[in-house]
């Protein structure tokens, strides 16, 4: 966005853009030029951040939608659509994001929540993250003693409704339970679906193939022209393997 374009906005719109971009301003100040400069700075930082956060495929894809090349303050579509903030049921869901991170969101039924909070011994909520060994195919009994390898807890606030979890290990099964604690007693409010983080390393393959460089080259196929400029292109785990094995060229 150019300075020229920003100067065409009303002060009201500039304040809105400033808010969207997290720019601090003093509404009593009214210094238009200064506000525009701050917004431009924030937009430039945002652009740099987005560029770094996307690989080439995603940057190119973005050009399909980039007809404005400008800040879209609001869409042309004026209709307002209301959607609920939550659905008033108690449940927790777990989504795998990458080999080491997962995202979880949850809801607690209003009635249940009220009841718990009325209890004098109510202490709070927490998430219990399980690493599991799935011995049976049925998901229903996955949280049995036999299956649990390890677990740890993350305390949460009543206002929280989602969290990113660092799984810490690849190639393992994980599940989460939404729990409350009352007078030292833990109650499970909801159990999540299970996820399996993929193996993030080909290390065992590299080890197997270390005496067979040709085969290893084929295994890493298409990567041998890679140079160190493209950290965002290749998953970090493959990158580290390539560097450790001196496969960069």
């Amino acid at each position: 966005m150019t300075k020229d374009r920003l100067t065409q906005y009303s002060m009201f719109d500039l304040y809105k853009i400033a808010e969207n971009e997290g720019v601090q301003y003093d509404i009593t100040d009214g210094n238009r030029d200064e506000l525009i400069e701050k917004i431009l700075e924030a937009l430039e930082e945002d652009k740099t951040e987005r560029n770094l956060a996307n690989n080439d495929a995603m940057k190119l894809k973005n050009t399909k939608y980039d007809i404005l090349q400008d800040y879209e303050l609001e869409t042309q579509e004026k209709q307002n659509y209301t959607i609920p903030a939550k659905y008033n049921d108690t449940r927790i869901v777990l989504l795998l994001r990458d080999p080491l991170w997962a995202y979880t969101y949850w809801d607690i039924n209003d009635g249940e929540l009220r009841k718990m909070k009325e209890e004098i011994f109510f202490e709070g909520f927490f998430l219990r993250i399980f690493e599991l060994e799935i011995k049976k195919s049925s998901k229903e009994d996955s949280y049995t003693k036999d299956n649990i390898i390890d677990y740890y807890d993350i305390p949460i606030d009543e206002k929280d409704d989602s969290w990113y979890i660092n799984l810490g290990k690849t190639g393992r099964n994980f599940g989460i339970q939404l729990c409350s604690i009352m007078h030292g007693t833990v109650s499970v409010l909801s159990k999540s679906n299970l996820i399996k983080s993929p193996r993030g390393f080909v290390a065992e393959h590299i080890k197997d193939l270390s005496n067979d460089p040709d085969l290893m080259t084929v295994l890493m196929s298409g990567l041998w022209d890679y140079n160190n400029k493209g950290e965002n292109i290749i998953p970090q785990r493959i990158l580290s393997i390539m560097e450790n094995q001196d496969l960069t060229l």
Partner: protein, 532 residues
């Protein structure tokens, strides 16, 4: 004798954007730009090759939402209006730039493009360019495949197999309606794969799909041929992996071909550069500057001081880059010689809109590659993924890893602090849709219309484009509104059904607006459908 097979896979997709309630709608230009700069020029290029009897084969994915828009009367009428507006602008530009020979050449180039587009669109294709693609498939040069019906990024719906089934099944049905064939291949949106997805593909008679390179490299078994031959999954369908370096040669804005200084600069457009009073009739109201397609500068380098575009210089560079691309394939095939028990399949896969729209010279570059491969004895041959499977039906059995072609290779683009809020709504809508199928398994009349529209709204809400836009920051308010719209519409239907009421006027209005997949059957969201 071939030393290597060159596999091009192109994926054409845009989300369903259609706003009959507005005379002009900004985001409809996404489609109009893609038709003008990619789809029509590509059709001309393919037909030119066919006319010259040049041998070539390409796997071409066309998304169901794109097909729906390309056959929509309202949008196609608006496209003709768009073209006429661009031609009028070009004629005005000829007058404005009359003292500058270099600019005149470039203006004429665009004017010719838009005039040719208008003629082809209205006269040759009678407002339906899908016929052009369909004809190329009949001629045996394209293998048209499909993708998830609204392009949902499937790994985030792993726990909702009924929704994945709905995405795949409705895509296959839509493909049959548009192309008269059953697709053998499936383009996973954003190459998003998770182990287990193949069961839904198999249930819909899909033979193969594509994954990112690391999906193959990190597969369960030792991938003996790397990405150069497909993996056969235990259920019999195949996964092809993409060659990293060759794909990158075209993608990379730093080191790839499109970043060459002589090529056309995408971001300098007269819609943003010329005075408002002049450009006003060719942008959006009220005074919203947009791309017009008239771009006069070359990439030049990392500077704002761009030089004027010279198409002759660009054409010379195309030849050089086509040679380089082919040589890279030859080198790759030579490295693999003796290491594989079959001829390697070197797959490069791209979004189709990269060519022509972003990389203006991309289509003549592709043509040069095809002509050079076909015209020489260089050990390379173009074939499709489907043809490779016919030559080599037996491949190493293994399961690819969870992967995508997004940033860092997994779900990070579509599951991020900027867009993660949508999933509680999407998952809930899917659960509720399944509940509706259970409650109303066999409806007719008005209730059938209501339920089908509910299914349509759920599918539309699942599009990967909206979280992608929220993450990458282009037209975010529109993406947010689209998610809210479809969730709102679905919830309104759900609540009405619980009260056993139907708002007929509202339903008719929504059916007319979000009219994608007219023959959609809501029961595809049922658990029963999944089991069968």
């Amino acid at each position: 004798m071939s030393n290597g097979y060159l596999g091009f896979a192109l994926h054409a997709h845009l989300p369903f954007v259609r706003h009959p309630e507005y005379e002009h709608f900004l985001e409809e230009d996404w489609l109009f730009e893609a038709i003008s700069e990619t789809y029509l020029p590509m059709l001309r290029m393919f037909n030119g090759l066919l006319a010259d009897k040049v041998k070539f084969k390409i796997t071409f994915s066309i998304s169901p939402t794109l097909s729906a828009m390309l056959t929509d009367e309202l949008l196609m009428t608006r496209y003709v209006r768009y073209l006429k507006n661009r031609i009028e602008l070009g004629e005005k530009e000829l007058e404005r730039t009359r003292d500058n020979n270099q600019l005149q050449k470039t203006v004429n180039m665009y004017l010719h493009l838009f005039r040719e587009n208008l003629e082809d669109f209205v006269i040759t294709y009678r407002n339906n360019i899908l016929w052009g693609f369909r004809n190329l498939e009949k001629e045996g040069v394209l293998d048209i495949i499909t993708t998830a019906s609204t392009h949902a990024f499937l790994p985030v719906f792993e726990e909702h197999p009924q929704a994945i089934e709905a995405q795949i099944q409705s895509a296959v049905i839509s493909h049959g309606r548009n192309f008269g064939t059953k697709p053998r291949g499936f383009w996973l949106p954003e190459c998003g794969y998770f182990p287990g997805l193949e069961s839904c593909l198999k249930a819909n008679n899909i033979d193969y799909f594509f994954v990112a390179a690391h999906g193959i490299l990190l597969s369960e078994g030792k991938p003996q041929n790397g990405v150069y031959s497909p993996l056969e999954l235990p259920n019999g369908i195949s996964a092809f992996g993409q060659d990293f370096s060759l794909t990158e040669a075209v993608w990379s804005s730093d080191t790839g071909y499109p970043g060459d200084p002589v090529y056309r600069e995408f971001y300098r457009d007269i819609g943003h550069d010329l005075p408002m009073e002049y450009i006003k009739p060719y942008i959006h109201e009220p005074d919203v500057r947009v791309n017009t397609g008239y771009k006069y500068y070359a990439v030049t380098g990392d500077t704002d001081d761009k030089i004027l575009y010279n198409s002759e210089l660009a054409m010379q560079k195309i030849d050089e880059h086509a040679e380089d691309f082919i040589q890279k394939h030859i080198d790759q095939a030579a490295k693999l010689e003796g290491l594989m028990d079959k001829v390697p399949f070197i797959l490069t896969a791209y979004d189709a809109e990269l060519f022509g729209h972003w990389w203006f010279e991309g289509i003549p570059w592709m043509e040069a590659v095809i002509r050079k491969v076909a015209g020489r004895e260089n050990g390379l041959e173009m074939i499709t993924a489907g043809e490779y499977l016919k030559k080599y039906p037996k491949n190493q059995v293994s399961v690819p890893s969870f992967s995508s072609w997004g940033n860092k290779g997994y779900s990070e683009v579509w599951l991020d602090g900027k867009n993660d809020w949508i999933y509680r709504h999407l998952h809930k809508a899917i659960d509720r849709m399944t509940e509706l199928v259970y409650r109303y398994p066999n409806e007719s009349g008005l209730k059938l219309r209501v339920l089908n529209q509910a299914a349509r709204e759920v599918l539309l809400s699942m599009a990967s484009d909206w979280p992608f836009i929220m993450k990458t920051g282009t037209t975010v308010p529109y993406a947010v509104k689209r998610i809210r719209e479809h969730i709102h519409n679905f919830n309104y239907i759900y609540d009405n059904l619980r009260r056993n009421t139907v708002d007929t006027g509202w339903l008719t209005r929504i059916e007319r607006k979000n009219n994608v997949f007219p023959d959609l059957d809501y029961t595809i969201f049922g658990e029963k459908n999944r089991e069968s």
